[in-house]
Assembly symmetry: D2
Homo-oligomer: 304 residues x 4
């Protein structure tokens, strides 16, 4: 398979379709990016990197970082984690609080905001200097010092963080939150404000295509079994209330962010990151999703 040719074809076809969406505007710093940017990077099991378009431009990875933090915590707490957060798809928007009330403070999964806050809280229980540790971890996965926290985005997230703060207090009211809320939110807003390019992002997801082993870090990041489970979670829960649609159309485990990025893996084949800022009404990048759909069609395989 000539991956370079493949992603170039996909890139051209998606560009030709001239798809439109809407850049996220809940914080100004995200809203101001050039909406026409579009990049794809693919990393195969040997560590070869293929790229097209704006694949080297750093962008705000936002919720994609939840896969990295989940990985850090999964490694430490293992199955104990699942008493604090469930593994079921949500069907509700990512920041819904109603479900959390009905289910008595146990978030549906680690990728909706409430679940990610629990993960970040667990991370704060384990690590001193958690922000530094997250950056270090992602850098290690990518084999490069690539992660930057955008201070304007971080500040803006904080200034518009009422709903996440509400979720944190609500979790605390159910005793599912152990650290000071402000500290955890600071870490949360920091890792959501991280910036990486498609290339580095695809590299940082490579271990999930490789049964938990990172060729860039040169070590086993998760056990094979844990790695499989993270992939399963991404497939069923990685795209908010569009998870089924994504599994249906694309069929790869992946995670999206409101910055317009999507990172995905084809287990035992490759990891891939696609980025374009314009989003559909569910909050997922229009071009990135289309690109991945075309790619799996062209490859004539997906998970299924």
């Amino acid at each position: 398979m000539d991956y370079q040719q493949l992603i170039e074809e996909v890139y051209q076809e998606v560009q030709a379709e001239n798809l439109k969406g809407k850049v996220a505007d809940y914080i100004p710093e995200i809203g101001n990016v050039n909406p026409d940017q579009f990049g794809i990077a693919l990393v195969d099991l040997k560590g070869n990197v293929y790229g097209v378009g704006d694949h080297q431009v750093p962008f705000s990875i936002q919720s994609i970082s939840k896969v990295h933090t989940l990985t850090m915590v999964f490694n430490v707490f293992n199955s104990k984690l699942w008493s604090r957060v469930n593994v079921e798809p949500s069907g509700d928007p990512f920041n819904s609080i109603a479900q959390l009330e009905y289910e008595k403070g146990i978030p549906r999964n680690p990728f909706i905001n409430a679940g990610a806050l629990v993960i970040t809280d667990a991370l704060c229980s384990k690590f001193e200097n958690p922000i530094e540790r997250i950056s270090d971890f992602i850098n290690e996965l990518a084999g490069d010092t690539c992660v930057k926290i955008n201070p304007e985005v971080q500040a803006s997230e904080k200034n518009h963080g009422e709903r996440n703060t509400a979720l944190a207090y609500f979790l605390k009211s159910f005793k599912n939150f152990n650290n000071p809320i402000d500290e955890v939110l600071d870490v949360y807003f920091s890792h959501c404000a991280m910036e990486m390019s498609c290339v580095d992002l695809a590299k940082s997801f490579s271990f999930l295509a490789n049964d938990g082993y990172s060729i860039f870090a040169d070590r086993q990041i998760l056990t094979e079994s844990q790695s499989r489970r993270v992939n399963a979670l991404m497939l069923t829960c990685g795209f908010y209330d569009e998870a089924g649609e994504f599994a249906f159309k694309v069929g790869l485990p992946g995670k999206s962010g409101v910055g317009g990025g999507v990172a995905a893996v084809m287990p035992h084949k490759f990891s891939i990151a696609v980025w374009s800022p314009e989003l559909n009404e569910k909050g997922n990048s229009v071009k990135a999703i289309r690109a991945l759909e075309l790619l799996t069609d062209k490859l004539a395989f997906s998970l299924f």
Copy 2:
């Protein structure tokens, strides 16, 4: 891979664990089966059949038949179907009506009861003698005249069918139901009352492991793309509000029924059917799920 040895090992280990559940009791005919029965059948891509335990005993396949009816309708209506039924996981019990109200009569997916009723309604729009047609279709897939409709189960489903009837009328109030309700319910209760053995069930799912081509029917049942999509749907929605858990633990596309059966596929490898009547609190067979978990662990691969 010696599949016969594999499933025998799995069978022994599960039996040794002495797992307990509760046989479904919503209709007496299901409640009266011998709860200790347990069988596994696996069919590889060449059509070789492997079996252990009660793999040749017919049992009530119940909701597993929803995969067969979806396949029949998908083939006919293709993408038009998705204006009438969504492809998102539900997170709610299989017979919930609240979600249907909030989402204005469009069921979350074709495997919850409301969605399966829409599928059966579509099937009634297309085929004369739909019950006969479903039996014929499954027999063809299994390469054998194997399907029997248990008249006591069918009658009992009908007598306890208030909630499904409520769902049908509710769908009709949203104009998402075209045929007379009694006719559609008759077909629905008939296909839920079908009985097959693990062997025949695994054979009838074989095309989903083989990009849509059935070695037993000797024809392309679904396109490769459609076949992938059915698998994606099973993975995200095949186990009601335990879909995420099943994907997480097992990682295979599959569908369960309250009769205690589970049919699943490992794409490009095999299809498998496992049956044991005792259910967990989510309504899925305790032993069947455990068997599939062990099997994917032993194989050290799943989808992911």
Copy 3:
């Protein structure tokens, strides 16, 4: 208090305001009435009748009949009734089914559709010829043979009755429904299709202003205590998800119907019926509600 002058003033002022709404269109027979009709009838404790506008024109009383059927059943089953139906306001639209699911088949109150179906079911358990008995009862309350069932409306209700049928089957699935669904629905659609004028409707509500004693029937219909409780129920639940607004603005116990009628009582003073077909978005008559608001303002008293 000169009631005739009062209601004439109210009538004039409301007409001058030229309020607009939308005639119910869920069945053609209701949608085709002349939308400009408007009538008020008031009956004092001595049985004096005051009227203005179209107060003698029969109209479809629809859900207002639920007060009559509740009265019949309350008299018979007394407090046993409240194990089958609750007395809490709903906050949801009158035909919602989600709440019924969450609360396991016990409707919130006797005036939402699910609750009224339980009441009609109880009535069918008690009375032979229930339709006749309801008519006889209302005629007795009004001191006149006034009730007519409009056969077109009845047939049309039935033809558009999918949601009510769904509610009935759903109730039955929770064992909160004892009679054949078709029979109960026939009775239900019949009493919703009853036609009466404002005058007769106000007379039929007179006993609720008089501690349960009907001056027209010349007998105690409900005990004083029961009568108070029906009034309390009307106040908290008589206007669907606008009950609070009506209590807030008008402050009288009352019941509305989608035909545009409202019947209300000022305990120990009078009963009143107002009718005008155009509805607000909550399904309550725009002019009738405004008239009652003006009337209680002019009287400078309400319940409160």
Copy 4:
């Protein structure tokens, strides 16, 4: 009517019934009160005060203070208030957040916690030193310097205030909150921590029985129309998800608090306060509700 004899009879009968409930335990300071205390105070329109039992013992009025703060704000903002908070019964527990999400940040009514927070926020927008102003206002209504804020209760409310804090942040995320959250919560926890006796509480509610005029403050507190509306709100929303039951059994506008107090009014007759710490499962005082039920039965009138 000999009110003193009446409340003594009621007191004796309730005591004889030996009703049991459970003292609120969400904060220790409330949980430690002597559960056997029971007092009734009634104030007639002339300002005569009748009392029995522990009617002069101060207790934590908790949510009853929401009537006082609503009154302060209603007077200032009048109808503009109702764009920020609705007037419909909730049907959900007092601290539910799900409804707030579905209804996009507009609380159902001013007496559930979310609504009371909006009221307190409005109060903070209007008044400097809001805590002092609330105390002054209640003292004026009671004609006595009676209000004390219990500092342990206040501190404990704050320490257990995660859910109220979550509600406040959630309101802010919908732009329905204007002041710093900590400041508003301080005011909120302060007025919930106020202590008064039945006598003073009944006096402070007297204006609501008297068309808005307080005989103790010797001035019009609310217009007659506003006073009626506060009563209507108490009737439909004053007892959380037991509002319908209370209206049904008692039929008086009233407000309960988890300290075990209930304040109610019989318009144009009297105001009354009853206190006993043991609560039913809905969070309302078992003895207080029973006392009011007996009282309206003995008087053979309620609102209805």
